[in-house]
């Protein structure tokens, strides 16, 4: 699968100042029946965006101009908690959302973001709250990944942390599997020989019916 490289991103940000937005809210389970990875944008936050009879809820931020197509989300703590479904990230991507800023993230969701070219930025709650206030006023944010800086008019630039390998993968749009196989093919084979000596019963499944 191709991953779009992430260098810098400028755009308005939709503010979702709510804690514990779980993956069921981001991508309701009933849509997991869809086996595609692309084109899931319309299901993002589906039950927040639509009433049971399919009407748009005008009060929800992603249904309001100018945030309908915002490429950035500013969210509350523990964003993306709950299930491991990667559709939660794909649905955000399907709406063109490339960056989520929050005080903390659900662990699996956080890891899934990097694998799909989405940048999750963790900042102290007070900074997120200030960004949210500016976002709600329609401010434009610039996320500079190489410089690890978020710039927005109205406050001093904020720096953020990111693991060097994740940063490099995002900037280059690297597919994790390819990177891993290239760098560690030999290590894996060496390990398997050692592992087989310790737990041989784990290598006898080929003989099973």
């Amino acid at each position: 699968m191709t991953i779009q490289p992430f260098t810098s991103l400028t755009g308005i940000a939709a503010s979702l100042p709510e804690e514990n937005i779980d993956t069921d809210v981001i991508y309701p389970a009933r849509f997991l029946l869809i086996t595609a990875r692309d084109g899931l944008g319309n299901y993002a936050f589906h039950d927040r965006r639509f009433t049971a009879d399919g009407q748009e809820r005008p009060e929800f931020v992603l249904n309001r101009a100018p945030w309908r197509d915002a490429p950035i989300l500013v969210a509350g703590a523990n964003f993306g908690s709950g299930s491991s479904r990667e559709q939660a990230v794909w649905a955000l991507l399907g709406r063109g959302i490339r960056c989520v800023i929050a005080p903390s993230f659900g662990e699996i969701f956080h890891a899934n973001c990097y694998r799909n070219g989405v940048l999750p930025v963790t900042l102290p709650a007070a900074d997120v709250a200030r960004l949210a206030a500016l976002a709600e006023a329609g401010a434009e944010l610039t996320i500079d990944l190489p410089g690890q800086i978020i710039a927005v008019e109205g406050m001093a630039p904020l720096s953020f942390a990111i693991a060097p390998d994740r940063k490099q993968a995002l900037i280059n749009g690297w597919d994790e599997t390819a990177v891993l196989l290239n760098a560690h093919g030999k290590d894996i084979a060496v390990f398997e020989t050692r592992h087989r000596a310790v737990q041989p019963w784990l290598f006898e499944e080929e003989a099973r019916p």
Binding site: S104, I188, L202
Partner: protein
């Protein structure tokens, strides 16, 4: 002489392929459970890159999430679910992955059939594109949920990059009172530490009360670890574990069995090994628990009343509670036992095992489901269903007015046609009470199988001990 190690350390170090400059470890993955929801995109990525599976027979595929439970055989009515199951079957055949047919005896929820088959073993790493993979830690396996892209990586490379977690020891002491179960312990633990209390930690459950638990109880406990934010739950393997596994179809046999048990006995936390966090829970004082809100940590003993958010000091918890009570349509001060329910769901990877069905049947025997309540029992696997039928449990349930279904995830995840209507309230043995989890607008109260059965009989939440005393 090496420094004392925790069980988690031992499992981690025995699977470390390479240390990466980033501080992560390349971790070898022994086993992968594959289901219809998180695998299509992984198989697609393999196809797109022209990759094959490194060790196809270390994977095991089964359809569980989307499958209907009213009948088996014939076409699945929902065209999307039908296509998804068909895609899994085709992918398994194309990539030589062992597949458990929907109509076969080996079908069931991934986290039920893994242990049941002896696919899950102590000392291994096991992954699945499902967060409740924590379940398998009950065997002393390093088991965790992953995303669909990672499933593709495991298929191609048999490895994953992982960062080592911190460790948390949860010491369970005291004896569980009658009719109080591992589910109640899990809900009490999560309520105590919070939905993020174990985040970033590998949780090891230990102590005399854990040693006394059955494998089913240990699986329930480990299963719910993710609801406290922990991706890994662990119990050291012991004679209870070995007795459970011996003779299972995919467990080692003969001299290999003895060799394996000797190795498995080394998988215990060394004396003197340190943990980053320690929690002690005295089981003697635990009453049956039910959740009242929309996060698994919003749970209380059944004897309590609905809490008043105004009395909650923490801002974030108070706001969540206010929103939860509005969604759940509950008023502060109402005794939990007065909360009326319309639906009962007994099943899931948390509580869909034979021991769970027996506990529910004990409550149901000779009683009738309350008027206006629809109650279903969905065994966790086809084998569990057959075992229950051999024991006559199905007749107990159906005589009382419960529907007896086929195996699958069913109303835990509401991806098939088993779901709540908006506003309906359910006594559920599943693991998540998030908004809309059991259907848009549906209201979930988490509890043990015995408690859910009792609620079905009474028509409202009730302390099961009142029915069984």
């Amino acid at each position: 002489m090496t420094a004392p190690q925790t069980l988690y350390d031992k499992l981690w170090h025995s699977h470390a392929v390479a240390e990466l400059p980033t501080g992560e470890t390349l971790l070898y993955i022994d086993r992968h459970l594959v289901h219809e929801v998180s695998s299509p995109q992984a198989f697609a990525s393999l196809r797109a890159a022209g990759r094959r599976l490194r060790r196809p027979r270390t994977h095991l595929a089964v359809a569980d999430h989307a499958v209907p439970t009213r009948q088996r055989g014939g076409d699945i009515a929902d065209p999307l679910a039908r296509a998804q199951v068909a895609e899994l079957e085709e992918n398994a055949a194309a990539f030589d992955v062992p597949y458990r047919a929907l109509t076969g005896d080996g079908q069931g929820i991934v986290h039920v059939i893994g242990p049941e088959s002896g696919f899950t073993l102590p000392g291994i790493t096991l992954v699945c594109g499902d967060s409740h993979t924590t379940t398998h830690g009950a065997f002393g396996a390093l088991a965790f949920g992953i995303g669909a892209s990672e499933c593709g990586t495991v298929m191609a490379a048999q490895c994953l990059k992982q960062r080592k977690a911190r460790t948390m020891r949860v010491e369970l002491v005291g004896t569980l009172p009658a009719h109080v179960t591992a589910k109640d312990v899990a809900l009490a633990f999560i309520a105590k530490v919070g939905a993020l209390g174990a985040q970033g930690h590998a949780v090891e459950y230990a102590g005399p009360a854990v040693e006394a638990m059955s494998m089913a109880a240990r699986m329930t406990l480990c299963n719910m670890t993710i609801e406290a934010g922990g991706r890994i739950g662990l119990v050291a393997p012991d004679d209870t574990t070995f007795a459970y596994l011996r003779g299972r179809p995919m467990a080692p046999r003969g001299s290999r069995w003895d060799q394996a048990v000797a190795y498995w006995r080394t998988l215990r936390t060394d004396v003197g090994a340190g943990y980053d966090k320690q929690v002690t829970l005295d089981l003697a004082g635990i009453a049956p628990h039910v959740s009242w809100g929309t996060s698994p940590d919003e749970a209380l003993p059944i004897t309590a009343t609905i809490p008043d958010p105004a009395a909650i000091a923490d801002d974030s918890a108070r706001r969540h509670a206010e929103k939860a009570l509005a969604y759940m349509d509950l008023k502060p001060g109402t005794p939990l036992e007065q909360v009326a329910i319309q639906r009962v769901f007994i099943g899931s990877c948390t509580n869909g095992r034979i021991e769970d069905l027996r506990a529910a049947a004990e409550v149901v025997r000779g009683r009738t489901v309350a008027a206006g309540v629809q109650a279903i029992v969905v065994p966790g696997s086809t084998q569990t269903r057959q075992q229950a039928e051999a024991e006559g449990l199905d007749s107990i349930f159906t005589a009382a007015g419960f529907e007896w279904r086929h195996a699958g995830c069913s109303m835990c995840v509401a991806m098939n046609d088993d779901r709540l209507a908006p506003g309906e309230r359910c006594a559920s043995t599943s693991n998540r009470n998030f908004e809309g989890r059991q259907g848009p607008g549906g209201r979930t109260h988490l509890m043990s199988p015995a408690m859910a059965a009792a609620a079905g009989i009474a028509g409202h939440l009730i302390d099961v001990r009142k029915l069984l005393s």
